[in-house]
Amino acid sequence: MARDMSDKEIMKMELEQLQKEVKNTREPVSKTAKEICEWVEAQAAEDPLVKGVPEDKNPFKEKGGCIIT
């Protein structure tokens, strides 16, 4: 655990982690951002908090009173 390690051991752990991370493969933001936007657009039609829920289909609408006819 971090608490049990000496400062030197923590620094060594961080160094080894950085050495690994520098080698990760990465893609350009222009490509990944475009894909995120496309994913959202494909899903947005089915997102009730984006497009709203018609009152009659809303399971959380306030319970109505009784109507006596």
Partner: protein, 412 residues
């Protein structure tokens, strides 16, 4: 036999340019002029030999490690910057803007005697579990507001609670008791926890066995979230060391890490597609990190927002980000354009938790005002106790996520 006079025998000859006190042992001796890390030094031959024998461990001080770390950090930032060829909000410019955002509080769940610290939705989109400082864990029917179960834990400050994907069990955690208790209505198989000691851990619930531990944070880990099951076996954690780390659940390896927040990260949440995650922090900002571009791609902040964000969640499509803050409000952001679309009021104390329902029709917020509020835009028997062996900090057992039996964890 005549006594021989003391003869000074040299076992090696070298060109001595100077004679004087050795920089190392201070004795007056013929000195060798050598360079150590580009600094000229004068050592006697004995000290030079000893230095050579100390081998590779020599020189690896905290300072050299730190210098190497700093230089690698710069290299990492350089590599990341090379691919930062456009901003997310620029790519999102041509997207349709969101309509006016109006949300009404539809239900207020009252019944906790003290601050609500955590809540989670059941997969049936109807039930909610919440936990409180009063030591109670309550399962509610959100449609009717009826309480289905109420369990009193033998401790206060139940910091975390989560529904099992099966909907048949709930796990709760507290740091006071230094244990995680689970209330089981049917079966639960694996639990992932984060702790005040800087680690995360994966447990086999039935045996109480630790399957894997995750080291890499240097302070309390306050939040974690599992990647959507289709995208693989990873999870993200965020903590008081301002870092957000992504982990491989099987190997225990930290695969990516991000350190751009200026204060504690209170909440992390995966993007619904699994390609990104958001974080909320005491620095009053929320940020979006793109996992494939390996960098932060958006900051959600305003000068007027000065209170920390305690909890974040996405809407179903990932277009909206909900963030609960310590100033009692909830900010709603357009994730792609980076603009705020609404502020929601209603709580009378800090918002501790926000969660969108599994079908995206509503979201629920819990607060230190002891209530849970739900908005639309429309037992039990304690069967076991898991002792997390190293919770030593006075805060947070963190967030629990119950993975359930659909998760292919193999203990090896």
């Amino acid at each position: 036999v005549q006594p021989q006079p003391d003869a000074k025998m040299c076992d090696q000859t070298f060109l001595a340019i100077t004679f004087g006190p050795c920089d190392n042992c201070s004795q007056n001796k013929p000195l060798m002029n050598i360079y150590l890390k580009n600094e000229p030094i004068n050592y006697c031959s004995l000290c030079v030999e000893m230095m050579a024998c100390q081998g590779l461990a020599k020189g690896e001080t905290i300072h050299t490690l730190k210098a190497e770390s700093e230089s690698l950090k710069s290299k990492l930032e350089e590599e990341r910057a090379k691919l930062h060829d456009v901003e997310l909000h620029q790519v999102a410019e041509k997207m349709e803007a969101l309509g006016q955002f109006v949300m009404k509080t539809r239900r207020t769940l009252k019944g906790h005697g003290n601050k609500v610290l955590c809540m989670d939705w059941c997969r049936d989109k109807r039930r909610i579990v919440s936990s409180s400082q009063d030591g109670k864990v309550i399962v509610w029917d959100a449609y009717t507001t009826n309480k289905e179960h109420a369990v009193t834990m033998p401790c206060t400050w139940v910091m975390a609670c989560a529904y099992a994907p099966s909907g048949c069990a709930v796990a709760c955690g507290s740091d006071e008791e230094k244990s995680i208790q689970y209330v089981v209505l049917l079966y639960v198989f694996v639990i992932l926890t984060s702790s005040g000691d800087g680690t995360c851990a994966l447990w086999d619930v039935e045996s109480g066995q630790l399957l894997q531990s995750f080291h890499g944070h240097s302070a309390d880990v306050l939040s974690l979230d599992l990647a959507p099951s289709e995208t693989g076996n990873t999870f993200v954690s965020g903590g008081c060391d301002k870092k957000a780390n992504v982990w491989d659940m099987r190997s225990g390896q930290n695969v990516q890490s991000f350190e751009t927040h200026e204060s504690d990260i209170n909440s992390v949440k995966y993007y619904p597609s699994g390609d990104a995650f958001a974080s909320g922090s005491d620095d009053a900002t929320c940020r979006l990190y793109d996992l494939r571009a390996d960098r932060e791609v958006a900051i959600y902040s305003k000068e007027s927002i000065i209170f920390g964000a305690s909890s974040v969640d996405f809407s179903l499509s990932g277009r909206l980000l909900f963030a609960g803050h310590n100033d009692y409000t909830i900010n709603v952001w357009d994730v792609l354009k980076g603009t705020r679309v609404a502020i929601l009021f209603g709580h009378e104390n800090r918002v501790s938790t926000v969660r969108v329902s599994p079908d995206g029709t509503a979201f629920c917020s819990g607060s230190w005002d002891n209530t849970l509020r739900m908005k639309v835009k429309g037992l039990a028997v304690v069967i076991g106790v898991l002792h997390h062996p190293v919770v030593s900090a006075p805060r947070a057992a963190g967030e629990l996520r119950n993975i359930g039996h659909s998760f292919p964890v193999i203990y090896s």
